[in-house]
């Protein structure tokens, strides 16, 4: 494969962010739950240290995504819902025309929003808990909030942390699926092949290196080649 056939999917800062986030979340889950499971060690400092790393990474991502990238590529559009419905029909054996997605499938977008919500809850509650920890910057104050309020914060932190386990299990599973390895590779090396791009994405909805586009309304007429580029047709052969 010639290097010119490579399509950039994830730039280096975004890949670094992803893997820093992954490492910090693994450290947080390990330090948070291994003591619960009976593996005792001095986990508190590592836990809040990894939490600060995660917080910084997430703030970087939010700023970069909102300012330098295309937030619209992660928004759920009606076209995504229509495509998902067609994909469900196709999965159930019905004849269906499944439109090719932009950069991300509906499920990928929904996963992003779910993990974002869960991590923001853990980060927010975790930062509040930092008040109860002695750090080089402040002395702990466990009376800053009342017992009842601390209890609610602990519950939210615990539920969100456990929910992140579910989401991460599913994420790693799909990342290791044979038909998804091309995506996993792109989060390591940054690119996909031209064939993968043309086969799996609608060029009208995702132009690598350009701005993502809101899906257009159904065009009045288009030639067969355009339609083939935009749709995966599942049909019975004559």
């Amino acid at each position: 494969m010639h290097p010119s056939d490579r399509i950039v999917r994830h730039l280096l800062p975004d890949r670094i962010f992803h893997w820093v986030m992954a490492a910090s979340v693994v450290a947080l889950l390990a330090t948070g739950f291994l003591p619960v499971l009976g593996v005792n060690f001095a986990w508190v400092t590592i836990h809040w240290g990894a939490g600060l790393v995660l917080t910084a990474a997430v703030l970087f991502h939010i700023l970069r995504a909102m300012v330098w990238q295309e937030p619209s590529s992660m928004m759920v559009w009606p076209a995504d819902l229509r495509a998902a419905w067609q994909a469900i029909l196709a999965a159930l054996g019905r004849r269906a025309v499944v439109p090719k997605p932009g950069k991300y499938l509906l499920l990928q977008k929904l996963y992003h929003h779910a993990i974002a919500l869960v991590l923001l809850v853990t980060i927010g509650t975790g930062l509040l808990m930092m008040v109860k920890v002695d750090t080089p910057f402040w002395t702990r104050d466990p009376y800053w909030l009342g017992d009842g309020t601390w209890g609610v914060i602990y519950v939210l932190h615990g539920v969100a942390a456990m929910a992140s386990i579910t989401l991460i299990m599913v994420h790693v599973y799909f990342a290791l699926r044979p038909e998804k390895l091309w995506l996993t590779r792109s989060m390591i090396v940054g690119w996909i092949t031209g064939d993968e791009y043309r086969e799996r994405h609608d060029p009208a909805r995702w132009k690598p290196g350009g701005r993502a586009r809101k899906p257009r309304a159904t065009a009045g007429s288009e030639d067969i080649a355009d339609r083939a580029r935009r749709e995966i047709i599942i049909r019975r052969e004559p």
Binding site: F33, V36, A91, L92, G93, R95, D147, G148, W150, G151, V152, Y154, V155, H157, G158, V159, M162, A163, I165, T166, L167, I168, M169, V170, Y173, R177, I234, R235, R236, E237
Partner: protein, 59 residues
């Protein structure tokens, strides 16, 4: 199975400590169900659907 962990403070009032760690296995099981369900679908159901749609021929 309890959902929450509680205790009593110095004044005998019940205070919330956090979510029950018994729920951890519920969340792990939920992930396992999704993974197993999808794996079974891809391994067993989808090939049968493709064969039916393609009339037995490779697409």
């Amino acid at each position: 199975m309890e959902l929450l962990r509680t205790s009593q403070n110095a004044w005998g009032q019940e205070v919330l400590l956090g979510v029950s760690f018994d729920l951890l296995w519920l969340f792990v099981a939920a992930g396992g169900v999704v993974i197993l369900g999808h794996a079974l679908f891809k391994a067993l159901w989808e090939p049968a659907i493709r064969r039916r749609l393609d009339g037995g021929r490779q697409r």
